[in-house]
């Protein structure tokens, strides 16, 4: 729902984006999704002892394309997703927004298939296609009847190297992206607060800018920028193809060989994706975004924490449990303290984003009640954190937090597209299939002592930025002061 995507959002999605009070919408774009793994196992005395998903079949071509196959034979439908290991954090300085801009331009046709042909082929069979860009990946997908898969593979393989860009298409699409920026950020003070908070939190890493980029840089992006980026990063040895649905790996392999096998590998793809890293954070930061349109103030706090890839073994699942314990649902510690007991806020939540190649975030979001000062909110948040860092959480609370996390894994079984996305996000942010499948077990192993230690270690205010969304006083009001 909220990576930057090529095709339009419906109104409901717009409304959801425009209301980033309990879910930090723009952060989800960077490192979104703490849902839906592929398997789950038994939970001591609990209810989550269900059958496991099969291990996906994997194979790779000689040109380096990795292929993951997730079977779901309930309906004759397949989901094709190709994931390129390139995102906004891989853009050259001064060219922010380029990864996302290229994603839009990938719909402009190739030497073989004129503009619109791919999309019409998908539409004519009742399918759907779209694409989205993250900080660490760019993904294109189609949902189609299974007998269309061969055709989809051919279209997707074709646009990996044969994109044709005309100046007039590039310029009008740039206007489209600027309207996307207007919708998602400029029109939305809450989104602008998040933009400013990320910039304040990341001192050195490109995660400090939104995926869509800064306006003055988007305005200057051109055809050559897009083609240069495309040639550098779009190659079979920088991509993962995920096919989920009514298909078997054995039957799929020759189709993939036929369509993608002839594309040469790109020798200049670096073995490791190195970006400028964050220095140890030294100062607590605050950001205030004031806008006359703000009728409901919001407070967010973002902590810089390790991602599943950068964390030491076992620490990322501890952060999953910590965030759930603090802010997942009405029995979480923050909600109980701020909303139920002290009545300072109408919502309070926390969230950890494990999928990122580099340092990630643990976020807290609170909607204050009218008349409540931010200071009161922060005092209460700090009290909750101090409690977690000083006393081991009750076992039953830890178990409920784990069950809530594992429930997401269970319900993901129902949706092949979710499973494909779950794998894709993690594979493109440095995890292995085994690590991904091991997530539920690693959640089960988390102890109260580990949660306490993680709170102490990572929820240090020096690692954080606190953001305030406030109403800007009118001119007259300001002058009277």
């Amino acid at each position: 729902m909220s990576d930057r995507s090529s095709v339009t959002a419906n109104t409901k999605e717009i409304a959801a984006r425009a209301f980033p009070m309990t879910r930090t919408t723009l952060v989800e774009e960077r490192t979104r999704d703490s849902t839906t793994p592929n398997q789950y196992g038994s939970h001591e005395g609990g209810v989550l002892a269900q059958a496991r998903w099969d291990r996906p079949a994997i194979f790779s071509l000689q040109n380096g394309l990795e292929v993951v196959v997730i079977p779901d034979h309930r309906t004759p439908v397949v989901t094709q997703m190709i994931w390129y290991k390139v995102g906004s954090a891989d853009e050259p300085p001064g060219r922010s927004g380029l990864a996302h801009f290229l994603e839009h331009l990938m719909f402009k046709g190739t030497s073989k298939h004129p503009p619109g042909e791919f999309t019409q082929a998908v539409q004519r069979v009742g399918g759907y296609q779209n694409a989205f860009t993250g900080t660490d990946y760019t993904s294109y997908f189609q949902h189609v009847p299974r007998d269309q898969l061969g055709k989809m593979l051919e279209f997707e393989a074709d646009r990996m190297t044969n994109l044709v860009l005309k100046d007039e298409d590039v310029l009008s699409e740039r206007d489209v992206v600027l309207e996307e920026l207007n919708m998602g950020v400029a029109n939305n003070p809450g989104a602008r607060l998040i933009e400013q908070m990320l910039a304040a939190l990341y001192l050195n890493h490109p995660y400090g800018r939104l995926i869509i980029g800064w306006r003055q840089e988007i305005e200057k992006l051109g055809r050559e920028d897009a083609l240069g980026f495309y040639k550098r990063f779009y190659a079979p040895n920088n991509a993962i193809l995920i096919i989920a649905g009514d298909v078997e790996a054995g039957a799929l392999r020759p189709l993939v060989e036929t369509s993608f096998g002839g594309i040469p590998l790109q020798p200049r793809i670096p073995a490791e994706r190195l970006r400028p890293q964050e220095p140890p954070p030294a100062a607590e930061r605050t950001v205030t975004l004031a806008d006359p349109r703000v009728e409901q103030p919001v407070l967010h706090r973002y902590y810089l924490v390790p991602s599943a890839r950068t964390a030491v073994a076992g620490e990322s699942p501890v952060l999953d449990v910590l965030a759930q314990l603090m802010g997942g649902g009405i029995n979480s510690y923050l909600y109980r303290a701020l909303v139920i007991d002290k009545k300072l806020a109408s919502s309070a939540s926390a969230r950890y984003e494990p999928t990122a190649l580099d340092s990630s975030l643990l976020t807290i979001s609170v909607t204050p009640e009218p008349g409540i000062e931010f200071g009161q909110i922060e005092y209460a948040i700090d009290g909750v954190i101090a409690g977690i860092a000083q006393h081991p959480a009750r076992t039953e609370d830890i178990e409920l937090a784990k069950t809530r996390l594992l429930a997401q894994a269970i319900y993901a079984q129902d949706d092949q597209a979710k499973l494909a996305a779950w794998y894709g996000r993690r594979l493109t942010t440095g995890l292995t299939i085994d690590e991904i499948r091991g997530w539920p077990d690693s959640i089960r192993e988390v102890s109260a002592a580990q949660v306490l230690a993680a709170a102490r270690k990572w929820l240090d205010k020096k690692r954080s930025v606190t953001g305030y969304l406030v109403k800007e006083p009118t001119q007259r009001h300001a002058e009277r002061r």
Partner: protein, 448 residues
């Protein structure tokens, strides 16, 4: 989602009731277990009716149900009562306070939710098959003995008000709200299900209880179930859950209404860089013979995906907007078409002009044969693609009941689409768009 012609009532209702148009059995090969399974019609010993697709591939059960009434049953001076009820049913019931109720849900990974749509009070329940007894029991408690403890009512009210305050300067919310106010004037469809900053503070526990008494009853209940459960067990659980509800509801009748006649243009000033545009007009009711023809031409003008005329002309060719789409919204007592777009303030005039030009052109000339064929092909194929999860199938089966379609509609759908001729499509286009547009603009300056 992909099919704008099948989206019902999303603008006000929040959660969508998108009906997926259904699977053609001829295309469903033997491997297809979910959608190819016959839909069964069940009647429990207590007389509770439901449709069921039994499928054991995943150990889950999805239940979708609806009570007739919805937001139209809010007292006229207190819109938002149904929405408050929906938000409070899982906040404590019977002997369980809110904390304990949520612990029971969370501890068994049960997902329970409620929503007030225009014509229906809807609910959904997702559970692991091993937890189904607990899941249905919690649902029974929620529907039959919600506590409405004062502290919980105030807490939920605070959340509703926070969202309304936020929405009060959100361009999309302002435009949608105004569109329905203008289209439906003093009819209940003019009101927002969430209520208003004025109405929500006035809602008291007596209102909530009154709403429950008038809406939550057996006579206006429709249920659809998909998942790993057999009919006998389901019948027992349905009796246990819904059997104790009052036999009959006490709804206020809702009059049929035709949306306000276009053309009209309304401007709401708001200092935002991007002007939000909502446009629409009277639509085609679900029960009318031209409904499917309207779906087809709607797909051609502004439907999902990246091929509609509006998408091509407004976005692809001219770069005027990131989003531009249009859909049919049908209700029990009316129907409209509604579209949205957004463009920077100095291009709002051009964008509205282009939308109007496209609408006029399709109304006057109709679609081409190729467009008609492609749209029909899409509408047939999209059923399979859209029905690939347990919960999507359950929502679709419920929507078919609400639309009073036969239980074998899945199998009939393709022939209904096939029957649409070019003449039908032209007639539907002329009827939908021949009168112009009711347009609401939210932005810096009115379009000249």
């Amino acid at each position: 989602m992909t099919q704008s012609c099948t989206r019902r009532d999303v603008l006000l209702a929040g959660a969508s009731g998108s009906i997926a148009i259904l699977a053609s059995p001829s295309l469903l090969a033997a491997t297809s277990t979910l959608a190819a399974t016959k839909i069964k019609h069940l009647v429990s010993p207590c007389g509770i009716k439901a449709t069921l697709v039994q499928d054991a591939t995943v150990p889950l059960i999805a239940v979708e149900y609806a009570f007739g009434g919805g937001a139209t049953q809010d007292p006229s001076e207190k819109p938002g009562v149904g929405h408050m009820v929906a938000s409070l049913l899982d906040e404590g019931a019977g002997d369980l306070d809110a904390k304990t109720f949520h612990e029971r849900l969370d501890g068994r990974a049960i997902e329970l939710s409620f929503a007030s749509h225009r014509d229906y009070f809807r609910g959904s329940l997702h559970t692991l098959k091993d937890c189904k007894e607990d899941a249905f029991d919690l649902l029974r408690l929620a529907l039959t003995s919600p506590r409405f403890d004062p502290a919980d009512v105030e807490r939920i009210r605070a959340g509703v008000l926070a969202k309304l305050r936020h929405d009060s300067t959100n361009p999309a919310s302002l435009a949608n709200r105004k569109f329905f106010e203008v289209a439906f004037k003093d009819h209940p469809y003019a009101r927002q299900a969430e209520g208003t900053l004025e109405s929500v503070p006035k809602i008291d526990v007596a209102d909530l209880k009154g709403y429950l008494r008038s809406v939550i009853a057996k006579d206006a209940l429709k249920i659809a179930v998909v998942g790993d459960i057999d009919p006998e067990v389901l019948c027992k659980l349905l009796d246990m859950t819904f059997g104790g509800l009052p036999a009959s509801s006490n709804s206020t009748p809702v009059a049929d209404v035709v949306a306000a006649k276009p053309p009209q243009r309304i401007f709401i000033p708001l200092d935002v860089p991007q002007t939000f545009v909502t446009f629409g007009g009277p639509g085609v009711r679900r029960t009318e013979p031209d409904f499917m023809a309207a779906c087809v031409v709607n797909h051609i003008l502004g439907g999902g995906g990246l091929t509609s005329r509006l998408f091509r002309e407004v976005r692809e060719k001219r770069g005027l907007a990131y989003f531009v789409s249009e859909r049919l919204v049908w209700m029990d007592h009316s129907a409209v078409f509604v579209g949205d777009s957004g463009t920077r303030a100095d291009r709002a005039g051009r964008t509205v002009e282009e939308i109007e030009r496209q609408v006029r052109h399709l109304a006057e000339k109709g679609p081409t044969q190729q467009e008609l064929d492609d749209a029909k092909s899409y509408l047939k194929g999209s059923q399979i693609v859209a029905l690939n999860t347990t919960s999507k199938l359950a929502r679709t089966m419920l929507q078919h009941q609400l639309d009073r379609l036969p239980i074998d509609y899945l199998e009939k759908h393709d022939s209904v689409v096939d029957a649409v001729t070019l003449e039908d499509a032209k007639r539907a286009a002329a009827r939908l768009w021949g009168g112009g547009l009711l347009t609401v603009l939210v932005g810096r300056s009115p379009v000249p």
